[in-house]
């Protein structure tokens, strides 16, 4: 039995979890700051960092207590080294190093996105080769995994992340932060309307994504219609944006599945909670019965430390340990043989 204590603080959640053998959650404590940041229309780094400092000790104590273990039982301490907000990351890195030093445990630095992919290990045993569609506020990536600890990015956004495009469009439509759930809800009441037709994103590499042009097109369309004295129906505009963005993304994902023929396709990241995305992927994956589809339950889409514990266990098996010199790395790249 291997017990990993995992710490996550890359953005606005302070989290600690104890995970057994990479797939069983003994405890998972998350202290969210989302209410604080709603006031500002986004995550505020300095505020985030300060609240992390206030929360982290209590969150760790609670995780250990709820798991019914002591620090002696822990085999290693995993932590998110990057990417993320530098000030926020520092808090988790420092906490992990302190614990590991004090209790003589090995340290495992983890890439945040690999954690999101591994959140699916709590749903089903991961099968390789595996393709992951990672969608969040800061990322839009197709990740190809030949084995359980090799992460090759075969497609990425060339400008904005999908979640960022949602947030910015939501801001223009006055829907507040975070924009993803708001647009998803509103789009359900919308309908297709020729007047709201938006350009399909184009990229030089067919596996890459682009959302900046689409975001600009929404803003321009909104401005143009208002200038013409047309009453813009926010639900219809939200519908047009969401359909255009998600269909483009899902089509590329299906192309990747066709080309790479993975044993499993998993969704990962905050935007994986989007109901329309889940529906589109489920429908279109029916054409690929040889690839198993895993869509994580909503509770595993958002940031948590259990997912860091899950990938931490894979890293543990690969002896991917870090040292005490390591510091937060906002531009960290995923471990990949290539």
């Amino acid at each position: 039995m291997t017990l990993i204590l995992a710490i996550e603080s890359s953005c606005d959640e302070t989290a600690c979890s104890i995970v057994k053998d990479g797939n069983e959650i003994l405890s998972s404590i998350v202290s969210s700051q989302i209410n604080v940041h709603t006031m500002f229309g986004g995550v505020v780094p300095e505020v985030a960092s300060r609240i992390h400092v206030e929360n982290i000790s209590a969150v760790i104590c609670e995780a250990v207590a709820q798991a019914g273990v002591t620090m002696d039982d822990i085999d290693a301490v995993a932590y998110t080294q990057g990417p993320g907000l530098i000030g926020s990351l520092h808090v988790g890195v420092q906490a992990a190093k302190t614990l590991a030093w004090q209790f003589h445990k090995p340290l495992i630095p983890v890439h945040h996105i690999t954690g999101h992919i591994y959140a699916n290990a709590f749903v089903e045993k991961l099968e390789f080769p595996l393709m992951a569609l990672v969608v969040s506020g800061g990322h839009t990536e197709l990740v190809w995994m030949k084995n359980d600890y090799d992460f090759q990015v075969i497609g990425t956004t060339v400008d904005d992340a999908i979640g960022e495009a949602y947030d910015k469009v939501a801001r223009v439509l006055d829907l507040g932060y975070p924009g993803g759930p708001a647009i998803d809800r509103l789009a359900k009441q919308g309908k297709a309307d020729e007047r709201y037709r938006l350009p399909v994103p184009k990229t030089a590499d067919p596996m890459n994504f682009s959302f900046s042009g689409l975001k600009t097109a929404v803003l321009q369309l909104d401005a143009r219609l208002k200038k013409q004295g047309v009453d813009v129906v926010p639900a219809d505009l939200a519908y047009a944006f969401q359909e255009t963005a998600l269909n483009s993304m899902v089509r590329k994902t299906m192309t990747a599945v066709e080309q790479y023929q993975p044993a499993m396709l998993v969704l990962a990241g905050g935007v994986a909670a989007n109901s329309r995305l889940r529906q589109l992927v489920s429908e279109q994956m029916e054409s690929y019965p040889q690839t198993k589809l895993v869509i994580p339950p909503l509770k595993y889409c958002t940031d948590n430390a259990a997912m860091i514990g899950a990938v931490g266990y894979a890293a543990w098996k690969h002896h991917a340990f870090g040292d005490f010199d390591a510091s937060a790395d906002p531009g960290l790249e995923m471990p990949c043989e290539l």
Binding site: P45, G84, I86, K215
Partner: protein
């Protein structure tokens, strides 16, 4: 030359303009990018990165506030979009280096980072694909940069 304006008609032309800026940029320079959502601030920065010889794909830094790329000069790409109304010193200057080029989007929300001398670029979306770039040089080095650009 203190001021220079130019209109680009496509993403490629915006990239080319950025590329010229990147090629002429000198260590320690700061470029301020102003313009609404969708104006083309990140697109111009992608061109600047290309002019600096950055190999990695330059993407929007909105989510993490700062991204760092390595080329002929280190490129510090900062986006203060999320900092509106936040009046605190965030210590980003600690990560900046005199040997690099710093590009700041939405710099009005991070006034503490703005040095005495800089190049400001104000981008206006004219219509679908046309964008106007109004550049202003504050400081001799930046005036010479605009001469080269012409």
């Amino acid at each position: 030359m203190k001021e220079y304006s130019i209109v680009t008609k496509s993403r490629d032309e915006t990239h080319e303009l950025g590329e010229k800026l990147g090629r002429s940029a000198q260590p320690g320079m700061v470029f301020l990018m102003n313009g609404d959502l969708g104006a083309g601030k990140t697109t111009l920065t992608q061109g600047i990165g290309r002019g600096l010889g950055v190999k990695k794909q330059i993407t929007s830094p909105t989510f993490t506030i700062m991204k760092i790329y390595h080329g002929r000069l280190t490129l510090y790409h900062i986006d203060a979009y999320r900092m509106e109304g936040i009046d605190q010193d965030l210590g980003f200057d600690e990560y900046l280096n005199d040997d690099g080029l710093t590009v700041i989007e939405w710099s009005q929300f991070m006034p503490a980072l703005i040095p005495d001398e800089y190049l400001s670029v104000t981008i206006t979306l004219l219509d679908e694909d046309q964008r106007q770039f109004d550049m202003n040089a504050a400081g001799e080095r930046y005036e010479r940069l605009l001469e080269e650009l012409k």
